[in-house]
Structures are given as structure tokens and as C-alpha cells.
Symmetry: C2
Subunit: 287 residues, 2 copies
Amino acid sequence: MIDRLSSLARDRGGALCVGIDPVLDQLPSHLGGGVEAARRYCFELIEATAPFACAFKANAAFFEAMGSAGWQLLEEVIEVAGRYALVIVDGKRGDVGHTADAYARAVFEQMGADACTVNGYLGFDAVAPFLGRPGKLAFVLCRTTNPGAGDLQDLTVNGTETPLYLEVARLAMAWASQCGADSVGLVAGATWPEELSRIRHVAPGLPLLIPGVGTQGGDLERAVTAALGENGDAPYLLSVSRAIGGASRGADFQEAAGGAAERYLGRLRGLHQPASTLPSESARSSV
Amino acid sequence: MIDRLSSLARDRGGALCVGIDPVLDQLPSHLGGGVEAARRYCFELIEATAPFACAFKANAAFFEAMGSAGWQLLEEVIEVAGRYALVIVDGKRGDVGHTADAYARAVFEQMGADACTVNGYLGFDAVAPFLGRPGKLAFVLCRTTNPGAGDLQDLTVNGTETPLYLEVARLAMAWASQCGADSVGLVAGATWPEELSRIRHVAPGLPLLIPGVGTQGGDLERAVTAALGENGDAPYLLSVSRAIGGASRGADFQEAAGGAAERYLGRLRGLHQPASTLPSESARSSV
């Protein structure tokens, strides 16, 4: 997964992840209503943004909100998006061992996604079933984008000044060395650039999935510069959802989404040092 | 939800929750294979155990592992189980505000469940969309049953001796007073009876969902006695999954499951002080 990400990012010139959030009451009006409109929305969004995307991130919640037809659509979206780029299912699952194993099988085997997001509150054995799967990656929630992120994540732990989110980053490093370095990443919101820098310092090599720019107001340049790390070549994915998929609700939706994705990718390209950021193997063929 | 739980528990003589975990490769062999076998398993399990159950807990993971057909089955199971008792969807969801709102709508409106489990790692605004909904309840993960629960949950916080799971219990109390006392509960595993006692002390009035007896080895009597609190009347639900639903994989599966449920309920009845534990209103009719 990390090799494929690197080769795609090299090809595109930056590591943009396009979020697929089919919110029924916010779809372009010309698409009509219901699950069929959501289907057209997802497929047209993928088509319009694929040239600029290293990954697509499907938010499970908005599919679940449509019931079993939505779940079926999620399966279709993963299949179609996977023709162009990596596919992340953003479900933030986390449960005790045998249940986590069922979630991991659902997302990686049943749905065939390349990556997913997981919640580490339950500890190592809740995350382990997602790890060590060849070609698959789990992004562990570290510092989330939301206003209340600090309620738990900022609590300092064990009598030190270390906040919980950094302890999670440290644990993720340990899990990576135990289960396969290529199978663990972290979610670090762009809305907290200082925290993101600290995460990158604790976890210099782990891929960071970075939501929170666009609608949520995070500073793209600051976040990605921090994510690239000291050598400017650490792996990341900048995830943009509403600012691309909701760029227009009019008939020009595809054009607007494609244009927004292209502009985000352009901003990322400006942050990469030429020829330094990504592995040199041409690996398009492996994607 | 809490009134309905109390009246059902009064009627049954104890608060047993039967877990519905249709694990495809562990179904009774006479049921056949695939989703159709899972459907028969779920419905026969509900039928056999309904006389002894205050609630059914459907574990979303095992339905997701069957794809969209599994999701459709989950919807059917909720509808059927809801004819007999309260229905909890155990999905441990947790996400930023607008996404959490979609999860809450999925579980409470689309699926029509009475309660669900949520993960509080993202803080208040990730839990809030599940709260304050009349007749609905969210159990926030506090102390989970699994061996690695302590990886995060035992970290002491903010320079005190308070472990994270107790801070979560304290936060849940605050959320309950902010959003509606009847809409917040906690998950506290029977595998950690001492921790469960401490949780009950911090959150004397919140309903506790208690998994971990049976296959996971928790001590039922010790856990439920702690959950009942000082006055012996605090709300709880003892959740048993594999030890009931997997009591037999033979043709006697229904009889074995019903028998196991009856025995668990019998053990609960022995722990309740007569006429002290539950509200006296006859509320069967409201269920």
C-alpha cells in the first residue's frame, strides 16, 4: 500500500485523497433524489477527480445512513474508485479481537479496500486484526479534526507532559514494528498543525492521513509541510471532502469538483521538493 | 429507553441482554450456509431467548462481514427483535460532528434501534449527535472487556491517579447532565470487576452495559452486584453473546440457547433484592 501510494504520489506530483461523502440532502439537485442520485454523484465525482487523486476515501457513515442499498453502493464505489487509485474506507472501527477481525475481513476482504481508519481506544488487540495484511493499511485515529478532539486526546498521561494523542502515536510505532511497518498509519487533522508536527516527530515514518482542510479550515501548507517531515519525504495523504465533492451543487458539479481537486493538487505540488519526495521506481504498473 | 428497560427488567426479574452474533462459520450446521443460514440463526435465536431477554444486542461487525445482504439482515433483525425487547446496535461508532450525525441517523432513524454503543475518543462533539434523542440511548465505551483494554484506558491522566476510563465515566456524567440524563450509558466489561465498581462509583445513575461473562470469563455475580450500586437498584444490562447464541451448534441449538438464557436470567434474579430494584409502574404496555 505504501509503495503504491508513493508511486501514485510521484506520478501525480502530490498526495491528494478525495473524500466521497454522499450526503443525500446535499447532492447536486440535477441528479435527482435517493440512492440512485447518490450513485451518480459518487461515480461522477470519481470520474472528475481521478486524474488528481492518489486515493479516494469513502465515509462509511453516509452510506450507512442509506440503509442496505447504501451499503451496496459503498461496495460498488470501492470497486470503481479502485480502478483509478487507492481506496480508504473511513469507518473508524474498533472492537475486541474476534469482532475487530470481522470488521477487518469486511473492509479488506468483503469490500476489497486498500486501507481503513480505526479507533485505538480499545488497545492493541483491537487494532491488531487490521495489521500485518500484505498490501493493506490501517490509519489509527491520533489527533482528530473536530473542536472537541482535546477532550480525551489532550489529557496528559502517566504523570508526564505527554498528551494522549502522542501516546497513541508512540503506541502505533510499536504496533508497526510488531506487525509490519507498512500496515500502520495515523490520522492527524490539519486543524491542529502544531499537534501534527509533534506527531510527525514521534512517528517519523508512518503515513499520515490528514483531513481538515477546506470546510474545516485547516492550513494546507502548514499541515503538509509538517507531515513531509525533516527530510521532506515522509508519506502523507491530504484528504479533502466537502471542498471538492461539494464545490458546486449545480449542473457544473463535475467541472467544479475536478477543478477544485486540480487546484488542491497544485498547492501540494508546490510543497514538494523536486525529485526528493518519493521513491524513484516507476510503479504505475503495480497499481 | 431507561423506563422501558426498567419495566422489562421488572417483568423478567433481571436485566439480561442477548447478543446476536451471526458468525457464518460458526452457525449450527443444520441451518445450511450463507446469509440465509444467518437469517434463520438470528430469528430462531430471538424466538428461543425472547422470554428471558430485556434487550437484544446486534453486533454490527458480523453483519457487515456479509456485505450488503448482511446489512439488510441487520435491519430485519432489529425489526423482529424489537417486537420482544429493546434493541442495541453494537457498532462502537465515533466520528466528527456531521459524520457522527449520519451514524446516529443510521442507527436510530434508518434502523430504528433503541440504543447503540459509541466510542468517545473524539470527544463530546462526536458523541453529542447520539444524545438527547427521546427514547434513545448511547452507551459510551468506558472499560472494554479485552486483554489490551488497559493500553489506553488505564493511562492515568492530568497528573492524577485517575485512569482514562474513569475520566470517560466522569465526562459521560457531564454529557448526561448537558444532553439528557436518560440518553447516556457506559460499557463496562465484567472481565474487570474492580474497574466496574469504580465506574459505578463515579457514575451512580448511568445504565451500564456489561459484556464479558461467558466465553470471556467475567464473574457475573461480582460484576452485577457492583453494577447494582449501593442501593441495589442502579440500571444495568448484562450482555451475553457466545455463551447463549453458541450454546450448541447442533440441531438442539434453539433449546440450548433458550436454556442458557433462562439460566443466566436465573442467576440475575438471585442478585436482585425483591421489590427494591426497579420502578413499580407497570410499563409492559409501553414496550
